[in-house]
């Protein structure tokens, strides 16, 4: 009885993952294709449920996009060609790795800029503290 209960429990726990993996299964000729597929569907953003990649999203359009990625990989297209296909139609928006251009400059340069500003501020602060300490030393 106990064993049956345990087995049932295990099945229940595994059920969600089974259901998920059944949504769509893509067969590829090689491990390399499979890995490229995984990478691309992580990199492409779902235009419907924004802030999810097309691998996370269960939206209709995400399913279509995954199928398209799989088809293009089987056709032997390169990653750039596949990402290009989608950005041509959906804009840079669908690419989680946006290209460096005037519009996306703040994305790429922002963190560096903030770091530099912070670094300079810290330097100024240290120098000021030193000078303050020295001037106090002279006073004494």
């Amino acid at each position: 009885m106990r064993a049956v209960g345990k087995t049932l429990m295990l099945l229940l726990i595994l059920l969600p993952s089974l259901a998920f993996s059944a949504i769509d299964v893509y067969q590829f000729d090689s491990v390399e294709h499979e890995q490229r597929f995984r990478g691309l569907i992580e990199q492409l953003r779902c235009p419907k449920c924004q802030n999810q990649s097309i691998s996370d999203s269960d939206a209709d359009i995400a399913q279509d996009m995954r199928a398209q990625v799989a088809t293009m990989i089987r056709e032997g297209r390169s990653n750039d060609e596949i990402v290009g296909y989608f950005t041509e139609r959906y804009g840079d928006f669908v690419n989680y790795k946006p290209p460096v251009n005037a519009q996306t400059m703040i994305l790429w340069a922002g963190p560096v800029l903030v770091f530099v500003i912070g670094f300079v501020l810290v330097l100024v602060q240290i120098r000021r503290a030193k000078m303050l300490a020295e001037s106090k030393g002279e006073d004494a």
């Binding site: 235009p47 419907k48 924004q50 939206a59 209709d60 359009i61 279509d64 996009m65 398209q68 950005t87 041509e88 139609r89 959906y90 804009g91 840079d92 928006f93 501020l121 000021r128 000078m131 303050l132 001037s135």
Partner: protein, 186 residues
């Protein structure tokens, strides 16, 4: 030393205000309103069966020579039901609307148009969604403005209504033959 420090004290405040302005400018923006990357480019090659004229194939020639709306719709799409009466109104004004039946069932679509009225000059059927994907559609309804030369000019995501028509579509339709439309719409 002290007067200089006085200025630096405000730095965090200035930084905070700058950040607040940057973030506030993003508030209230409709994030669903993505501009189409195909704007200014020709409508992708269409080769689809017609829903209502059996045996007919709908292709890009349908869009030549006049401003056309390409409305992406389906019977499963609630907002399409909402905008349907407005599309009928536009059609009455003489606007040519092509209705791309997107990932739908033919029988349901025929029923829908028979019961609610048909605002479309032609209904190409995209059952698999392949044409939609090629066009950059990510849901329904979406409405594209196609120029008399067959180029995509604008994509509107979501409900069509008088406000959207006046604000987004009319200003772009500047061909002489469309002056009549503008007058009628006012």
């Amino acid at each position: 030393m002290l007067p200089r420090k006085g200025v630096w004290v405000f730095l965090p405040l200035i930084g905070f205000i700058a950040l607040a302005i940057l973030l506030a400018s993003g508030l209230g923006k409709n994030t669903e309103d993505l501009p189409t990357a195909l704007a200014g480019k020709p409508l992708p090659q269409m080769q689809l069966p017609s829903l209502l004229r059996k045996g007919n194939v709908v292709d890009n020639r349908l869009f030549e020579g006049r401003w056309t709306l390409l409305n992406v719709w389906a019977t499963w799409c609630p907002t399409c039901h909402i905008e349907h009466p407005y599309l009928l109104k536009l059609a009455q004004r003489g606007v040519a609307i092509v209705g791309l039946d997107y990932k739908d069932e033919d029988a349901a679509a025929k029923n829908y148009l028979a019961n609610l009225g048909n605002p479309y000059v032609e209904v190409p059927v995209d059952a698999s969604g392949a044409y939609g994907l090629n066009l950059g559609v990510y849901g329904a309804p979406e409405t594209y403005l196609v120029s008399p030369q067959g180029d995509i000019v604008l994509r509107h995501v979501g409900e069509m209504n008088e406000r959207v028509w006046q604000a987004k579509f009319l200003p772009l339709m500047k061909e002489p033959s469309d002056i009549k439309l503008q007058v009628e719409a006012q």
